[in-house]
Amino acid sequence: MARFEYAPAPESRAVVSLRSSYGLYVDGEFVEPLEGKSFKTINPASEEVLAEVALAGAGDVERAVAAARRAQREVWGPMPGAERAKYLFRVARIIQERARELAVLESLDNGKPIRESRDVDVPLAAAHFFYYAGWADKLDYAGFGPSPRPLGIAGQIIPWNFPLLMAAWKLAPALATGNTCILKPAETTPLSALVLAEIFQQAELPPGVINVLTGDGSTGAALVARRDLDKVAFTGSTEVGKAIQRELAGTRTRVSLELGGKAANIVFEDAPFSQAIEGIVNGIFFNQGHVCCAGSRLLVQESVAEAVLEALKRRLGTLRLGDPLDKNTDIGAINSERQLDKIVELAASGEREGAERWSPSCSIPERGYWFPPTIFTGVAPSQRIAREEIFGPVLSVLTFRTPDEAVQKANNTTYGLSAGVWTEKGSRILWMADRLRAGVVWANTFNRFDPTSPFGGYGESGFGREGGRHGLEEYLDA
């Protein structure tokens, strides 16, 4: 097959004006952290320092909680839903207006391809605000009884894989229902949340309704350890999720957790072949595999395993790894050195435990954190690469013979966030969807998201749903 070379097609960075340092966003203003600590956030594709960011400590948490509490009681809670709605519609509109800036910033700070930040993260973030804005004055009809009340103040801790989008997932339903928020962005990706804070200023949101505390794990821990928040919403690792559940045991704080996954992507012999190949690629290599619902276990029916693998390898050979700001890039940078180390370690365990490793030949940039798309075949269900969440561009391939065996293998995990099913047989799709212990089942598609569509898992993938009417319940006292 002829190969065409691509000329570089870089997106301009000029649309982003980074400040050299950022404070915390508390009570409607950017303020210096009380303890004066800060940390650097870098571009994982180049290791260039992007900005110095404030590290919030317990005193800053105190200030933010006080501001959020006052804003909830005096302003945001009593405000008519129709007025809250208009603020959120404003936020959605400003995100749309500043879409390109946010996309470039997200790719700089996170390492994800601009194609994804531009076409997925930012538009979906705006859509979430737009969707939940409309709920704010219709909560009586949401099915949670008459006049459901807000919980109060919510501490929201979000991960680095979709920084802006996860902020939107958390903030939009909380605000629509009359809660106020303290958002703690991930240590390695704080910048888009800070621009979001500027957007809240532009939208003239009342002070204290949203507070953004940048920092590391200690900041999140300080927020949760107060035990006086009305709500804690967390997206991140199962390990930290369990720690939060333990910390809040015996309190009245409501908790929702969106944790890890090890999704099965199940391909039957009658699957639409080329769509399935694209779906497998999208399932595990979207966002460098930094996706909790990634289709990281490919279960392929034995009769087509060879053909699927051959086509998959051919397709991987065409993926382009490199500069996240290049519009032709498919695979960007791994978000951090720590995450890269984890992926390297788990991939090494796969080889050690006897699975066969394969990657297409691709050149790896000299600076930054990178990992080539990787497939393991001959994977046994007991191996670490079949059980542990790798959170990187690594696919473990297993085979099955019957639908029953596919279900049994797919459900053989402590997680239960998502699953994929590829078959042209409608009755089998519904049969599989019924039996798979997964909160989201993608049939003949994968990694689709929408503000109207509830998202969340079974088992150790956490509890609670985000998105849709169901997402309101997590923030209502009903």
Partner: protein
Amino acid sequence: MLEGRLAVNKTYKLYIAGAFPRSESGRSYPVRTADGTHLANAALASRKDVREAVAAARAAQPKWARATAYNRGQILYRIAEMLEERSAQFAEQVARCEGLAGTEAVLVVSASVDRLVYYAGWSDKVAQVAGAANPVAGPYFNFSLPGPTGVIGIIAPPDSSLLGLVSVLAPVIVTGNTAVVLASEERPLPAVTFAEVLATSDVPGGVVNLLTGRLAELAPVLAAHRDVDGLDLCGVAEQDAAALERAAADNVKRVLRAERSPEWEHRPSPRRMLHFVEIKTVWHPIGA
């Protein structure tokens, strides 16, 4: 009663996998009336009995979940029928265990029957109320349905030995979950007799498993069990809740926290039922 005839007393046992075994530990404990009179010896379940009960609940869960909603509704209604028929027996037992006047106990039993009828009716409505077709922005059909969480551990209310029990059990099983119930420690007898109702109401074995014994011994095992998906702490004293919730976090159980003096005679809401369902969302492309 005939003059001089000795009554034949019932042995109160556990209810596991549709059978009535004694505790594997061979132990029992005395149960007394509200004013201290000895009523019977109840089985003192062990940690191993908890594990057996969880295994039975897990084994029964897939089939119960896949019974049609109509079928589950009829079975819950059948439980109500069987309870109604034995009202007099339950009224007497509840009166003795809870120290209620006879008329009060009759009301408690009637309310328990009505509670079962209430939840029986939910079986084929919950998916319509809690489910949705979601208008996603793209060429996909997308729907969400509530499904059972799996195996639920229930610590039944300590005071309300029948109405409280029914009020926490029915919302769990109506959606296709199976249950391991720790009965009221001090007032376990109505629960054991209720298990006899379950056993004669077409409830498949293992769907409800009921243990009597010491909460301090059994609850931590149930809370920490890795094959239990959810935990209803209704009957737990406030000071004991934190430790059980911490244990439940080991496998991220869904926990329904202890309530302060719930009033069981009030009309329930679907809240308890919806706490132990998982919303599953399915996407499929639309195309010609």
